[in-house]
Symmetry: D2
Subunit: 287 residues, 4 copies
C-alpha cells in the first residue's frame, strides 16, 4: 500500500524520501521519482511531514521510539502521521513521546484497501489535535478522497477498529443467513434481493456478497482470492478484543467472530478473503 | 396489525368478513365497514380469498386444520394467505392439507411493522405456486407496497426468518461497536458517520441507530418504547434456530444473538424495542 | 444398543418378543433366544412390559401413536418404557395418549453407551409416576446398574439432555484449555494433571481426555473412532435448544457448542467421537 | 492473601522483611513478627528469597524492573518468586531482566484462594528452571500443600490461566444446565445428583454448586458473597484472551464466557462470587 500512496504524493509534486526494510519496495518508488533514505533517521531529518504504514504494534513502537527512530531524529515541529492499524493505546503512547520532543503526531489509519491506495480513494480516520489535523489534511488528501477528524489521539484507530469489528460480524451474519436460506430451499440471489431492500441490508450483503455469482467482481466470485484476508480481519479483531478488555466493554459477537476467523485460519484459510466464511460454514472450504 | 390491514382492503372497495378471538378488534373493523363473522367457518364459507395473521405455529395449525377450521370450511378453489411469521415447515404442512381440499395456500409474512400496516407500505414475502402468487398479488398490494415471490411454499417464511436473524445480529453488532468506541473515547455520532460511509454500514446503524440522539424519531430516542420488541425478535430467532437445527446449518452468531435477547427478556426487557441491547451492554437498563 | 439390552433380559430369564425394521438385528436377538414379532402390534399384544429404543422424536411418535402402533394394540395396564433420547414434550404427549388407553408410560433414557448396554451397566433416568417407576425398576435393573427416578413424565429426558449439554460444553472447554496451554508451551499431560487436582477438573479432563496419549483406551487415543459421535452430540444439543427456546432459558454456551459441533459435521466429522473437537480447533482434522 | 502467606512463613521460623503500599497490611504482619521495610529496595537487599503477590501486569513490571525496583536492588543469586496471576509474556520479560542481573526468577501463581492462603493449603504452579524450582520449593511449601513444576518460565501462569478459563466455562455450563432443567420442571438437587454420577460432573457441580441450598457453605448458599469475584474471573479471562490472540489459539467458549462475566460486571455484579451467573441468567440478580 505504501508504494501506491507514495506515487500519489509524487504525482502531486511532493518531494519524497522513502525507507522500507524491503529494498525492492524502495526501488519501485525510487523508480517513480522518490529519493531513497539509508535509514529511518535520514527520512526524519529531511522531512516536514512523515508518513508511516506498518504491520503491527511492535513495529510502530520500534520505528518511532527506538534510539535511532523517527522521534529522536526529527526536527522540532515535524508532523508525524501513522497510517498503520494498531492499538489506540500504542498510538497514544507514541504521541506522548513525540510531544516530549515537540513533534506533532496524529494517528491516521485508512480504509479502502490496496485498490483505494492505488486510486487515491482511501478514507483516512485522523486522531489528534484539530490544528494538526488541519495542517496534515492537504497532504493526506493527495492519497485519499476523504480525511475525517475523529477526535483526540488514538480516535482514528478506535474508529477503524470499531468499524472493522462490525464488518467482521456482518460478514458472518450475512453468510449464516444466506446459507440457512439456501439449506431451506431459498435461492441466495432472491434472498439477497429481499435483504437488500429490507432491514437486514448491509455492506456485506449489497457490495461484497459472500455467495459466488450474486455480485460480480468481488472475491466470492473469484475463488475468494484477493480482498481482505482472514488473517488481517483476525488481527483487527485482536485489537478490538484487547481494547474491549481494557475498557470493560462487552463484545459478545465481536469476540465470537474473532474465534471463528481464528478457527478458519487453523483450517488453512488465513490468506483467503474473509467472505470465505460462507463456504467454510458449508464445509466446502476443503473441496 | 390485522385491523390496519383490513381497513386498507375496505378502502379499496373489498367486502370483508372478519373474525378474531378479541371482540374489540372485530368491533373496530366492523365500525369501518367490515361484516363480523361468528366463527372461522363463516369467514371461510363466504370468501374467495382469506387472510390470516396469527401469533404462533400452534395458532396457525389450529386455525387452518381444526375440524371447524378454515380448510374444512372453505369452498374449493379458495385462496388462503397466511401472513403470520411461523416455522416454514408448519406452512408446508398447512399447504399440504389445503391442497388435499383443492384450496390454494400461500405463505405471506410481512415486514414493515404496525406503521407499515397502517400506511399500506408493508412488504409481503410470498411462498407458493407462481400462479397463486399472481392471483393473490392484486389484493395483497392493497395492504402493502410490495409483494415478492420468494419461491415455493414456505419460502416466504424462510426469507422473513433469515432477514430477521441478520437484523438481530446487526443490531447487537452495531451496539457493541458504538459502545466500544464510546468507552474508548469516541463520540457515537462521529463513529456512526464513519460507519455509515464505510464497510460497517447497515440498516441498524443508518436508520435505526441504538444510541439515543443519533437518529431522530427511532425507539432509542424514545426510551426504547414501541418498535420491534425484544420478545418478538427472540421469537423469530427461535424459528431460525429450529429451522437451522433441522437443516444442519451452523448459525453461531444467530444462535448467540438468540441467547442474548433471551437473557435480556429475563432482565425484564421483553417489551422494549430490540435496540435496548445498547443500554443493556452498558448496564444502564436498570437505571 | 437394543440388541445388548435384549440379551441381558434373556439372561435373567425373561421371555422376549422383539421387533425392528432391521431384520438382521432381529435375527441376532432371535438367535439368543428371543421370539420375533411380525410387527409392533404383535409385540404389544403379548407383553406385560414393552421397551423401545428409537433414534428420533418422529420415530417414537409413529411407533406409539400410529393406528397399528403400541398404544392402540397393548392390553390395558401394560407398562411402556421408552429409552430413546427425545424431546421431553414428545414424551409427555405420548404419555398422555397412553393414559387415555389406561396404559402406564415412563420415559427412561440411558447413559453409558454401547459398552454400558453390553455390560448391563447403563444408568436409566426415569420420568413418570413413582408407582410406575417402582413397578418397572426390577426389569430395568436387568439392563443397567442404576435406575434413578427423576420426577414426573419427561423428567428422565430433561435429566439426560441437561447432562449431555453440560458434557458437550465441558469437552470443548477442556479442548480449548489444553490447546491454549500447548500453544503457549505447556505439556498437555502436565496441564491435565494440574486441572484434575484443581477447580477445572471434570469427566472430560479426567476420564475422556481429548488429547491423544493422555488417557489410555479412550477415542482420542484411537484416532477418535468409536465413542459418542459428533452427530449424536449435535442431536442432543438440538433437543436442548428446542426445550430451552420453549422454556425461555438462556443457554449461551450450550447454544454455541451446538453450532461448533454442527460446523464440525460440515467439515466431515459427524461420525468421529466428539473429543475430535481438539484436533479440529488445531486445524489437524484434515491431516 | 499476602498477609496470611507471610504469617505461615513466620510460623515456620523464617525471618521476614515486608513491604506493601497499604501501611495497614504491613502493620498487621509486623505485629505477627515480620520486620517492615521502607521500600522495595530494602526488601530486596536483605533477602535470599523474595515473594511478590500483586494485582496486575503493570504492577509486576513496575515492582521488578523500576530503577529502584527488586531486580536492580537484589544481591546476585537471589531467588525471586512472583505469585501474582499475570500474562505469561510479562513473567518471561521479567525473568529475562532478572537473568541479566544474575538473579533466579520463577513464576508461581497459586490456586486455593484466601482460605487456602490462611490454611497453608495453596497449590503453587511453578514455571522456571528445574533447579530454581527445587531450591524454592521448601520455602514455598510452608505456604501451600503442593508445588507443581509446570515447565519453563511462564508455564506456571499458563497453567493457572488455562485452568481458570476452564473453571469459568464450567460454572456457566453448570448454571445453564441446572436452570434449563429447573425451567422444564426438574429439581436442581436431583439433576445435580445425576450429573455428579454421570459424564457432566465437574468441580462446579460437585463442590461449588451455583444453586442455593444444593451444597452447604458455598457462596451460592450465602447470597453469593465471598469466594471468587466476577471481576477477578473476568481479569483471568482477559489474560487467557490476550495469550490466545498471541498464540492464534481459538477459544470460542472461553471468549464468550469472558463476555458474559463482563456483561455481569456492567449489571453491578463485579464483587459477587462468580457462581452468581446462575441467578443472572434467571433474571433474579436485581431482586
Amino acid at each position: 500500500m505504501g508504494g501506491f500512496m507514495s506515487r500519489n504524493l509524487l504525482k502531486k509534486g511532493y518531494k519524497l524520501r522513502v525507507y522500507d526494510v524491503d529494498k525492492a519496495a524502495v526501488a519501485r518508488v525510487t523508480a517513480a521519482g522518490a529519493q531513497p533514505a539509508a535509514n529511518l533517521a535520514e527520512v526524519a531529518r529531511d522531512s516536514d511531514i512523515v508518513f508511516t504504514m506498518l504491520p503491527m504494534n511492535e513495529h510502530v513502537l520500534e520505528c518511532y521510539t527506538a534510539e535511532d527512530g523517527l522521534i529522536k531524529s526529527a526536527k522540532k515541529g515535524t508532523y508525524l502521521v501513522d497510517s498503520s492499524t494498531i492499538d489506540p493505546a500504542v498510538a497514544q503512547r507514541v504521541a506522548e513521546e513525540a510531544r516530549k520532543h515537540q513533534l506533532n503526531f496524529v494517528d491516521g489509519p485508512v480504509s479502502g484497501g490496496v485498490v483505494g491506495a492505488e486510486n487515491a480513494s482511501l478514507t483516512f480516520m485522523i486522531g489528534g489535535a484539530k490544528a494538526d489535523y488541519e495542517k496534515t489534511k492537504p497532504v493526506v488528501e493527495c492519497m485519499g478522497s476523504r480525511a475525517v477528524h475523529c477526535g483526540d489521539i488514538g480516535m482514528g484507530q478506535v474508529a477503524k477498529i470499531c468499524n472493522n469489528m462490525l464488518l467482521a460480524i456482518s460478514m458472518i451474519g450475512v453468510s449464516e443467513a444466506l446459507n440457512l436460506g439456501q439449506r431451506l430451499g431459498l435461492d441466495p440471489k432472491i434472498l439477497t434481493d429481499i435483504i437488500n431492500t429490507s432491514t437486514g441490508r448491509c455492506w456485506s450483503s449489497e457490495i461484497y456478497n459472500p455467495v459466488p455469482g450474486v455480485v460480480d467482481g468481488v472475491p466470492s466470485s473469484k475463488n475468494y482470492e484477493g480482498g481482505f484476508g482472514v488473517g488481517l480481519v483476525a488481527k483487527d479483531l485482536g485489537l478490538a478484543q484487547a481494547s474491549a478488555t481494557r475498557a470493560g466493554a462487552p463484545i459478545a459477537l465481536g469476540s465470537l467472530s474473532h474465534q471463528i476467523y481464528r478457527t478458519m485460519m487453523q483450517q488453512g484459510l488465513a490468506g483467503k478473503d474473509f467472505s470465505v466464511v460462507y463456504p467454510f460454514i458449508r464445509g466446502e472450504n476443503n473441496k
